[in-house]
Every structure is written in C-alpha cells, then in structure tokens.
Symmetry: C2
Subunit: 868 residues, 2 copies
C-alpha cells in the first residue's frame, strides 16, 4: 500500500518529488534538529490520487491524515479542537518545482467560536485571537469555497474608517471581535451555509482546496511558461501554527545566508516585529535589517546565524529562509536555495569552491552563461525598470543598457557623439553605418533580426542593439521617429535595454558591470576543463586585443571586408569595383595593397603568435557602393564620371538574391586579381612582422566553397602568388575553407583533400539549409514561434536535427578523407551555449565568436565536458 502522509521526521531533502520542495526541506530541517514547528506532509501521490478519484480524498488518505494528526498532537502536546489546549494549523502547498505564490494557503486552522472564546484573556489576546479567526473565515471562503473575499475586506475597512485607524493595530479588541462575528455572518450569506466549526472538517476541506489550486488558471499558465509538467502534482504541508504577531517578543522575517545581490558572505535579511510572514511580503510596514536583531535580541540573532551557516553548509548553496519568533522562541518555517543576481551567483559559486564547500566543477555548472552575459554589460537599475513603462519592444539583438540622444544618420552621430552619448536609429543598416556604430552607444533598427548585419556588428563591437522594432516609423527626412502617437525628434533621449528589447523614453539610471577577480578565476577553471578551443571573430587589431583580453586563443575569423569600410579605404575598393578596364582595376588593387598590408601587420602584431584566420573578401560588391544620392554624387566627382553612368553601374551590380549571388570565393574566381592582392598583403605582412621576431600563424580562409574545384583553382593561384612574395617555407601558412553551403557539407570528402582546415560558417549554412534569408525571416519567424512551428531561433541556437546533421556528415566525411584536418565554427553560434556544447560534443577543434561572447563560449565549452 502506498504511504500518502509523512510526518516531518519521516522525510528528507531528497524526497522532493514526493513531498514537494517545501515539505522535503521542512523534513530535512526537522531531522537536523532545527526548531521547526512540527507537522506532516500529504504527498504529491495523494494529489494525483485525488484527481484520479474525481477530486475526492479517498478513505485511505483521510485515515492516514487523521493518524498523522494524532501523532502530531501527541508530539506537540496540544489537541485539535481542545478549547483548553488547542492545536492550530497552517495548510500550505509545496510542489516539486517552486511555483511561488501560484497556489493557495490557509492559516489558523482549528479555530472556532468556542476555542476563540476560551483563548480570550485580555485586550491583547482578544484582539489577536479574533484577528486570527476572521482571517481563517475569510481564507476559507476564498480558498475552500471559491468566493470573493471583497466583502470581508470591506468589513475590516468599515471598522478602520470608524476608528480612523491607519493599521489593524489601531483597532480595539471589541472591534476585532465584531469583525470576526460579522465575517461569520457574511460567510453564511455568501457561501450559503454556516462556517464549519469542526476543526477536522476544516482541515480536510483545506487539504482538498490546496490540491484543487494545482489546477487553477495562474498555476497552469505558470507551468506552461516555465515548461513544468502538469503531471507532477503538489504536496500539502500541515504544520503547527506559530505566531510572529503574538506578543512584543514575537517577530517574523526572511534571511539569506549570503547577500543575494552581491554574493558577499554575510547573513542578510530583514524582519518585522509583532507581525505575520505575509506582512513582509505585503509591505504594510517597512521591515528592519536583520543586523538590528544582533543588538535587540543577540541570542536570537546568534541562533539564526548558526542555523543559516549550518543550512548553507548542509545544502552547499546559499539559503533563502523564513523564520518566526514566537514569544522569544525561534522557529524555522522554510529554507530553500535562494535566488540571486548574476554577480552574486558568480561570487557565491567561486567563493564556495574556494572554501572547498563545492568543487570547481560544481562552481562551473552553477554559473550560467546568462550570468556571464549579464556581467559583461551595464544594466539598468532594477527599480527604474519597475517604474518605467517601455515605449515599445524590439528584438534583444545585442545586450547592454544604454541611454543617449537619437540621430538618424551616421554623419549626425559623428557630429554629435563627443557632446553626449548617441543612439543611431535606422530603418535598416548598411555597412556604411559602421562608422556611426563605432561612435554611437546603441543602435535601434526598424527592420532586421537578431542576427541582422546591425546585430552582428553591434555584438562584435559590444554595442547595445535592438532590432526589428516594427512599431516604430522612421521619417529620415524629418529626422523623427513615431511610436503610436509619440513622436521623438533628433536629439531626444531614449534608453535601450538590449537584454529585453525594451525601448524607454528619456535616460534610465544604470549600474556598472562588475567583472571582479572571481570572474577571471571562474574562466581559468573553465579553460582547464574545456576541450574545444575558443577563438574570436575580430577584423581589426584593437578588436583582436579585446578578444584576447577576454580569453580568446586566436582569431578564428577576420573579415577583410570590414577593413574597407573606413572612409579612406572604401574609396579605394569602390574604385576597384567600378573600374571599366583591366588596367584601372589593377591600379585600384595596387592602391589597396599597402593599406591591407598595414592592417594585417597590425593584426599579426596583436595576435603575437596566436593563429590569425583571414577570410578573403566575402560580400556582394554592391554592398561597398553608396546608396544615397549625395554619396553617389561625391563618388562620381572623385571618379570623374557622370552621376548617371555611375548610377547605371551601381544598378548593374545589384542582384536579385545577393546572398546566393556573386560573392565569397566566386569573386576571386571571376576576378583572381582580388585573391592575388589579398594573398600578397597577408604574406608580406606576415613576413614583415616575423622579421621583427614576432611569431605569425596565418590561416587563409576561402568563403562560400561548394565544390572542390573552386578550392583547387584558388589554392593554385594563392600558392603561385606566395612564391612571388616569400621564399619556400619562409612563412608557414595554411589554406582552408568555410563550409557554409549545403553542398559543401555533402562534398566534404573531396573538399577536405584540398584543405588544411574547415570552418563551418553556420550563419550562411543555416540560411541555406532552412531557405531563410536572415534579413527577411523576421517577417515570418514570429508567426513560426507563436504557432509552435519553431521552438527557437535557428540563427541563435544551432538547429541540431537539420543544420547540425549536415555538419555531422561533413565532419565524418572530412576526417575520413583528411585525418589531420582542423575543424572549427565561425558563425554566430560560436557564442551560444547550446551550440557550443553541441560543437564540443561533435569533437570540433574550436569555435570562434564575437569578442564579447568569448567568456560565454569558454564557460559553455567547460559545461559541455562536465555535463557529459
């Protein structure tokens, strides 16, 4: 036969599934000898049985409850319903997974007219006992009978008005008595029957009501939101009442074994004298910090502190405790692992591992990548976020919390960024905006997804970015943005919360990121554990330095096109693109060569012996050309051609689907001069820096390879060019390819024979495997999420069953054909926890991600090993 009821001393903390979290912890504390008000737990199995029996308690369960009650009575020396020495009880829910405030509670069970009268001794006790009684009646009507408690509140209000009372404490004993009696009458009126005076009836009805509350609407919604199974059920904890409001030397409080905001190792909490637990939550009075107890009631403080330390040691985690002092005696009502900020979590985990309470591995598993992400950026103050209503909400494309003046062109950003923080607002972004993004603190776009150009660059730069903010209308000409009936003009302040996607009007106060020594310690532990390498995507020397600072082991992706977006360089590349003759093209490339060489020299210097993976020019060429009338005019002037002919040329370079058009290595194949120039620049720079005594490790990476012949053709050109620049063996370099086209994965055996390394470009691979253009997909992905078609954004977290399958196939084919091949990933997924774990388990050699994602990738890589 199943056992449906456990006395607290029959359970322990590992019986969470059966006793619920609260019940298991109460049992544990009980067995540890801590001062817990005694009681028993009706199990989740009883709850399931209750639902099987059409919401009735069967005889077995009822019998067990009554037997447990008997045992409880004998343990505490009180009897339920005994006017001389009555046992009063609380009935509380407690499911295996915490669902704070979602289910119901009934207190003061066991009171009735006779007992109340018997307990009435003086003014104070009358007020106290009838206050408890009226609360029981109200809760019973509400929770057990499902009636509105409005009417009961009104009775209280009426008396308070009469007495001109601010709080309940200002009411007289007689008032309380009257209120209780009027509540009883109201109960009869509303419920249609008398309030049950029989304590055992009260108890059984209350237990049923708590079981019922498992399926109330807010509990169901909460479970759905938090992905908690409906099948778990809740346990019910029946416990002797203790009263923090019974006397002057009674109080109630909440304490944490460490500071939940910072993680500092001190007892942290607050308490209210002469109050019940719910008063703290309701915020009726301002509680006092727990340190005050040290002066007012040193023995209580000491006992609480000892218990706190004992519990933390016992649970090996920071504890969140509820306690009550009844007539000078401390009772522990609850303990559980406490919620905390990211910073606190990091500090606690590292601290506990440092003191040997947990292992380093446990510390690594306890700190989430979300914690690290939060620690990498400024955040708005919690308080401000609670008070301010967001103007609108977009996609949280790049985290950060920034406030600044809005501008609508990069020119205006450049003009104003020195005077105040600026935010660039754009309908969409083009590479031309990169200048503006360098100087703005944040970016807000109407179109584009989480991995839009804007978002990628923003994350690369560590800039806050909200994209796809479709409720906004931008009028670039008037330099205004409109949301509903609010119109903001150039120079107005807004605030962006990059971790939620919320946009606020005005300036919100922020707290600085605090990357303390513990952050570094944790990362070092992670590095010791992880197997997969972590490199960074960085295009310029200064970005590379940031990445190395964050722990990157090399540069896995240097996008050479980003070198060209600066004012003086973009002109040179535009000249190359627009050249009409071979000679002009050649000349323009010759102009670019020293510029590229210099950039690479700086990168090799910054890399200082680390691997530098350089991708050849990738984007469709039209991306380098101006779009705006004024820019076209300027360029036409510089090139000495007519505006009309320049426009025609620009038009002729436009493509229907540029993502699948002339770009990547296709540029080098149609115009090998490009590959020759870039090869010269890389190897010349490598040679120059090597001659300064600095080690260089160039890896030449060809993008968008889908056929082995593409690679063969270009490898031949690169190797021939190398002979012109360096002597054989003078600088050692590798030639590899991005695998980012589905066909590239299928033909991996043939391609691998020609390649020193593969780097999976998961952004493009995801685009083409899904047939989702990432710049356009935002127009339907929301529908896909809402309709349950996709569970997550495949541009953020790798799609294991589709894209991931292709990568697996590619790895198998490539390793079989070329066992020494180096395999990595350089898409956005390289900075996503789930994805890094997946890549680590596939046995890839490295991931490469934005500099600001490097710590996250390192921690994820460690978790991949530890969770195996």
């Amino acid at each position: 036969m199943k056992k449906y009821v456990y006395l607290f001393n029959e359970g322990n903390k590992d019986m969470r599934d059966l006793l619920g979290g609260k019940g298991a912890n109460l049992a544990e504390m009980c067995n540890m000898g801590l001062p817990v008000p005694l009681g028993f737990t009706v199990t989740t199995e009883a709850c399931k049985q209750y639902y099987q029996d059409n919401e009735e308690l069967n005889e077995d369960i009822k019998t067990e409850i009554l037997i447990a009650l008997k045992k409880l009575e004998s343990e505490v020396g009180k009897k339920i319903g005994d006017p001389e020495n009555p046992l009063l009880l609380s009935v509380r829910s407690g499911s295996p997974v915490s669902m704070p405030g979602m289910m119901d509670t009934i207190l003061n069970l066991g009171l009735n007219d006779q007992i109340a009268k018997k307990l009435s001794k003086d003014e104070d006790s009358i007020r106290f006992i009838y206050d408890s009684y009226r609360r029981l009646i109200m809760m019973f009507a509400d929770v057990v009978k499902g009636k509105d408690k409005d009417k009961f509140e009104k009775i209280l209000e009426k008396y308070k008005e009469k007495r001109n009372a601010k709080t309940d404490l200002d009411l007289t004993a007689e008032d309380m008595y009257n209120i209780a009696m009027e509540s009883k009458e109201a109960y009869k009126e509303i419920v249609g029957e008398d309030f049950p005076e029989e304590p055992r009836t009260q108890l059984l009805e209350s237990i049923k009501a708590v079981f019922r509350s498992w399926n109330n609407k807010r509990a169901k919604v909460y479970r759905e939101m938090n992905n908690i199974s409906d099948a778990l059920g809740t346990a019910v904890n029946v416990q002797m009442m203790v009263y923090g409001n019974l006397s002057e030397d009674s109080l109630t409080g909440v304490a944490f074994s460490r500071n939940p905001a910072t993680g500092e190792d001190v007892l942290y909490g607050e308490f209210l004298e002469k109050a019940q637990g719910e008063d703290i939550v309701a915020g009726v009075r301002t509680p006092k910090p727990v340190e005050v107890l040290e002066r007012n009631a040193p023995h209580i403080y000491k006992e609480l502190k000892d218990i706190s330390q004992l519990l933390e040691y016992h649970y090996k985690d920071m504890q969140d405790m509820e306690f009550t002092v009844e007539k000078g005696k401390l009772y522990m009502l609850q303990t559980r692992n406490g919620k905390r900020t990211s910073m606190a979590n990091l500090n606690i985990a590292v601290g506990m591992a440092g003191s040997g309470l947990i292992t380093k591995e446990e510390a690594l598993l306890r700190v989430s990548t979300k914690d690290l992400d939060n620690l990498m950026h400024k955040t708005f103050e919690e308080k401000a976020l609670k008070e301010e209503k967001p103007l609108t909400k977009g996609l949280p494309a790049s985290p950060g919390a920034v406030s600044g003046r809005i501008y609508f062109t990069e020119a205006d950003i450049v003009k104003n960024y020195k005077d105040s923080d600026t935010i660039l607002v754009r309908e969409e972004t083009s590479p031309e905006d990169i200048e503006g993004m360098k100087y703005a603190v944040g970016l807000l776009t109407v179109r584009g997804g989480m991995t839009s150009h804007a978002a990628v660059v923003a994350r690369g730069l560590g800039r806050c970015c909200i994209s796809g903010c479709s409720e906004i209308t931008v009028n670039a000409a008037k330099k205004t943005l409109t949301i509903g009936d609010i119109t903001l003009t150039e120079g107005d302040y807004i605030s962006l919360d990059g971790s939620t996607g919320n946009v606020y009007e005005g300036v919100l106060p922020t707290t600085d990121p605090k990357i303390t020594g513990n952050f570094e310690t944790l990362l070092n532990w992670a590095k010791d554990v992880k197997k997969i390498g972590v490199r960074a995507n960085a295009d310029l020397a200064k970005d590379a330095l940031v990445a190395f600072n964050f722990g990157a082991e090399g540069i896995g992706l240097c996008r050479t096109e980003h070198m060209f977006f600066e004012e003086n360089k973009i002109f040179a590349i535009r000249k190359m693109i627009l050249a009409e003759t071979e000679e002009e093209k050649e000349k323009a490339l010759n102009d670019l060569l020293p510029i590229q060489t210099k950039d690479f020299e700086e990168l090799f210097k910054a890399a200082n012996g680390k691997i530098l993976t350089i991708r050849y020019l990738d984007p469709p060429l039209h991306e380098f050309l101006p779009k705006k009338e004024e820019d076209i005019k300027k360029l036409a002037g510089s090139l000495n051609v007519t505006i009309k002919s320049l426009k025609e040329k620009i038009e002729s370079l436009k493509q229907f689907n540029p993502m699948m058009g002339l770009r990547g290595s296709r540029l080098d194949i149609t115009y090998p001069g490009l590959a020759i120039m870039q090869t010269k620049a890389i190897l010349t720079a490598a040679k120059n820096i090597q001659s300064q005594g600095i080690e260089v490790k160039p890896e030449i990476m060809l993008p968008l390879i889908g056929d082995p012949n593409e690679l063969k053709y270009l490898k031949n050109i690169i190797e021939k060019t190398a002979k012109d620049v360096i002597k054989s063996g003078e600088v050692s370099y590798k030639i590899g390819t991005m695998i980012e086209i589905p066909r590239g994965t299928i033909l991996s055996a043939e391609i691998a024979k020609e390649a020193d390394f593969f780097s999976f470009g998961t952004n493009d691979l995801t685009q083409m495997t899904f047939g989702f253009s990432r710049d356009d997909a935002s127009s339907f992905l929301n529908d896909y999420y809402q309709k349950g078609i996709l569970k997550f954004d495949p541009f953020k977290t790798i799609d294991k069953e589709g894209v991931g399958r292709l990568i697996e196939v590619s790895i198998t084919l490539a390793k079989r054909a070329n066992p020494s091949i180096e395999l990595g990933v350089c898409g956005e997924h390289g900075g996503d926890e789930e994805s890094v774990k997946f890549f680590s388990k596939l046995g890839l050699d490295y991931v490469s991600c934005s500099p600001y994602r490097v710590p996250i990738a390192i921690l994820s890589a460690a978790k991949a090993v530890l969770e195996k």
Copy 2:
C-alpha cells in the same frame, strides 16, 4: 609477344580499339568478300609503343610491318619498288574514335624516279604518274618532314599560269614531268636532303609521321573538345592504291545507304569521274548524283547498291561509304555509320525496327533526346546559318528559331503582334511580362540564366528564348537596343536561334518541324518500356491539353500564381496583398475564390480523370505588384489610395533575398486565409466537376516545406476547411509537399509521416544546395565553366553528387517512415535526359516537366530502363 600488325583479313569490325575505326571496318569488308584494296593495319598498341620508345618504331614493329608487306605483295601480285610491277600504297590514320581530318595521310607511296619512268607509256600515263609522284613528294615534305607545302603549290601554279590552265588536267605530260622534277629539287632545298627513293624507307617514315600526327595541335584540341582520351592512340592503315583518276572509266564517290537528311530508304550519294577522293571533299568540280551511275554504268551502280544494302544489313545501321572505280572495277575504300539529321535518325531507327533489322529497344537507344528536341521546334535553314554572322550570342534558354520585330514593353507587343511576329526584348523579365510572352514569338533578355523566370515560362509556353545576352544594352526609354556599334530600334527585325543562343539581324528562313508518324510510333514504344511516370507542369487548362497531347500522364505541377497574372485576376490579388485590414483582406480573397474555382474546374475537366497536382501560392508577394510608375498610378487610382502610400507599401514588401524570404507555405502560415481560399476553390471545383460524371484526382501540394510542423499546421487548416466544403469522403484528395529546401531532405522521415506525397522541387533545391540564385548565377557561371570548375549547368542537369545525394537521402528516409508515399520531381530537371535517368534509377514514381519536354522525358525514361 604482342601482335602489332594485322592484315585486313586478320581483323574484324569489333577490333576498333586495336585497329581504329577505319581499319576495323576495312578488315570487316575484306572478310565479307567485298572489293577492298588489300592492305594491313599497324595497331594503336604500336602507336603507344612508338610513344613509349621516344617516338621511334622498335625492331619488333618494323619487322612485323615488313612481314605484312611481304604477305600483301604476294596477295596482290605486285612488289614494292619493283619497276615492272610496282605496289603503290596509301598510309592513313584511323583512331578508335572518329577524328575526321585531324590527322595525316600520305598517298602514292612506293613511287620513285625509276618506277615513274618505267610506268611512263604515253601522254596520259606520263601525266598521271608524274602528277602522283609530285603529290607524294609534296605530302612527304609536309607530313613526314613538317615543311610548308607552299613552295610545291607554287611550282604547280607557275606551270598553270604559263599554260593558262584552269585545272591540272589542262597541263601537258611534259609539264607534269617538269613539275615533279622541280618538286624533287625543291624538296632537297627545303628539307636539306634528297627525297628518299627507297620505298620501304618511305613507308616506315610515313607510318611514324602518322603516329606523330596523333599529337599535333589540332588533334589535341579536337580530343579535348570532344572529351576523347589522349591515351587511345591511332592505328595506321597501309593499303594498296587504287586510282579513280587513272582513266576515263575511273571515278570516285561517296554514298549513303539511306538519305541522311530525311532517312528515306534509297541509295544516296555523289561521284566524280576521273578524280581522286580528295577532289570531292575539296569541291574542285561539282559531283554528279549517284543515280547518274545507274544510266552510265549500271553494273557498277548495281554492285554498289548491293554492297550498300549488304553493309547496312551487316552493320544494322545506315552506312557512309567511300568508293573508287579504277578502270571499271569498283573498290570500297571505307564504310562507317553515317551522320544524319535528327529527322533522318528517327525515321531510320523506326524504319529499321519496323523491318526487323533492329529491335524496338535498339531503336529507342539510337534516337537521342536532342533529336526529339530538334524535331519539336522550327529550325533555321542550314544554309542561312552558314551565311549569316550572328550579331551576338546569349544563353540558349528555350529552343526554337524565330524572326520578328523587336518591342521593349508587353504593351507594345500586345499592340503589334497581330500585324507581324514580335520579339520581346527586356533587361530582365517579371511575371507581368507573361502577357507579352503569350503574344510574342520570342524573348530576348539581357540578364537571367537558362532557368530564369523568362526561360522557364518560355519553355513552358514553347516559346523561343535567349537570355543572359549581356553584350546588349537596352534603352527602354528610347526603345532601342545596342550591340557594339549597331543600334536597333523598335520595329526592326531580328532572328533568334534558341538552340544556339545566336541573335541575327533581319529575318532568317526556317524549316518547319516534321513530327511524322514515326515520332508517335517511337514514343509509344518508349511508353511500353519506361518505368517512371511522366507528368507535365501546366498552369491552365489549355497548357494541360497540350501536355496530354504530348503524352503526359497527369499534371505534376500547377502553379496557382500563374493563374493570377491575367489582367482581371492580378487586380484581385493585388487588392488582397495591399489590404490594410483583415476585413479588406478577407473581402479580396472572397473576390478571388470564384475566379480560382473556375480555373480549377477547367483544369479538372481537361485532366479528365488524370492526377492534378496543385501547388499553393508560392512566389514572394512583391512579384504581384506593379513596378512601373504608370502601373502604380493606375493601381493607386483603382484602390483609391495615394500613389505615395502605395509606393511605401510596395517598398515595405521588398525583400533582400526574396528567394529565401516570405514565400511558399510561409505565406499560408503567416496568413492562413490564403490556404483556406485555395482549398475551398480546389475542392469546390473538384466536387462540381465530379458531379458532371468526370473523375477528379486532386493532389494538394504545399511548397517550401522545411519542417514537419509547417506541414502539420497547414494540413490541419486544409482538413478543417475541407469539412466545410465537402462531406467526408465525397471527393478524395491527397495532401503532400514539395521538398525543395535542404532541410526538408534531412527531415524527410518526420515530414513523410504527415505527407501523402513528396515532389522534389529541384530548381529551388539546386539553388539552396549550391547557394546559387538562378537569377544571379549567370554573372559567374560562365567563368565556372571556362575554368573547369563546373562541367555542366546544375539548373539543367541534376547535380548527382550534391543535390542528388540529398534526394537519395530523402527518399530513403521518407520510404522508411511512410512506405506508401508517392515520390516525384517537378523541377526543370524533369525534362532533362540525364536527370530523368537518374530519377528513374532512384525509383521515383514520376517526373513532371514542361509540356514541350514531355516526349523527351518519355524517351529518357525508356533509355533509363534499357541502359540499366
């Protein structure tokens, strides 16, 4: 020991690899007892050995040659170098694969001063013998010694001038003697040594020279162009000379056993009296038709005709023969399978199978799909094509040969097509042009590839189309096109050759397609043999009827969007797209419903019980919207909105990469009203037509599915809608999906569980697997072909190792998950021979292609079975 030399009577026709084509056939004829001048063949193995021995004949080979020569002498009763009865020889190349005119020949071998003198008997014999001698000297200098024969030609010219002679025949015997002697002196001067009088030396040197000619430049280029292995080598045929120019009763000629232009079963050919074989080729005199022989030399004619029939019967194919009559005796110098036109090939194959000479299966293998393709369209007259120089060349996107006046807008086409044939010239095309394409005879575009929208629609309509004609500049405003310095204006005539991509100025004469009864016979045979089904892609009832006429077994793809491109319908769909409110959208859809229903009714009627696979709306919506200012203005007027706001709306629907954006089933998921409308239209139409006693077999096809949840979601909507339109089981229909996204292939098991059928959309699948936008790829694909990176156009012929691999994976997964699933292909590849064979071998149930490709698909499907 290897045998390097075969007497003709030692070989046979199956020894092609060893003896070369010519040698094997000479041996065969010899063994058949036909009058072949005797000789022997030095094998291709000897050629390979010659190259292994650094271009020398080793002793083994030399010895074998001299032994064979001895045997030959005894067989023919003449001796080489014997002035009394000299054996004269020809030395000719002959490789396993025909390489006409690419290698060298030496005639009259064995002549020298002594023999020439001895053979001189009268004027005629002197002229003949010294003419032969001078030719030998010249050929020897040219072929063996590699010297320019210019000087020798000049000697001849000099004498001709002196005599004022038109042809060699006008020269005197003395002249010829002098020319021969001067040629000998010239030989010594140019070569630096005496002409070798020793006949065996002449022979061995000539054999070496022919071996050497295997590697001359034009032979190498020819092999590369025709994909012939360099390793094959050539054989050398040494044969007794016979002279068609020896006497009045000598002649030489070429004959075919059937008419090579039409296939008619008559002896066909021509001859020259008193001439050598090369004179026919050179065209010095106009030859006479072979029928003339019937009168002039009936016994020769009869013998030739008998031999011709014998050879055709023996070889089971139409023969191309060379013959010579020396002093009234017929000699056969060569026979081989003759080249012929497509029409002739079809008629010969069907004719031979009809008479039992070959089997029906052999007939099917002999007729190529290219033959059928040629027979499906008009062609320009050969003569005109030879004389006219093309203005420029584009991609041969859709075959046909048309001439017409050029126009630059569909409006101008519609205005003018009744007065004369018209050709639409466009920078690129949009679906709006379909109206123009319906009335124009051809289409010429500057941009776009072989499978561009223009090309696909053109092929679907059977319209001639040349696309990607990048040398053309179109000035739409001025209504002119420019190629180099030629400018054509609206109304000027041009001609398009859709099978070569050539564009001509003016009107070229054409020949009509002749689809005779044999065509039908052959297709019926093919249908009996093939296993894979052949359906057609047709969007309207009349296209479907064309397809059924060509043999289609059903409609495998009806693109519903094409129904909307007509004037009255496009307005309705534009209203739907541009609707601002749900009500407006709903109303616009309600307007579309009866229009769609009617179209489907016509299609079900046309299908008359055949399967009708209907694809739901597929293209990105912006394709339906006007682009031109005037059209936008008109639409704004009709919709009663401002031009500005309409333009903004159009702009907002534009996508960066529409091919991977909001299109296909994504349209139905974001706006289910569309799927509901199309479901209602299909099932209402099906019900109505079924009630007329006509069987209906609708298959609902959802495009662009990459995840099983997409299909589940839409299937649910469709099935719910069906319940509103038909009673359960009233009309049976299937629901399936296109597999055209790489992810769809990988998740085929999960998708197949929800689908009644898969139709592989190989166009899109090729695009996304390669990452090639077919509208943009023409900008680099030419470079890919030229640089040997791609061997063929993957949009034309399925890429077996990449795209094909994904299809194989998909088939395996799908069949395992759903064994009853129906699997087909509906991309352009369904009409390509190689691709159809591949799909047939994969075990697919059907291919679906353009109506005009149906016969080709049927024949390809039969070949797939026969070639197994």
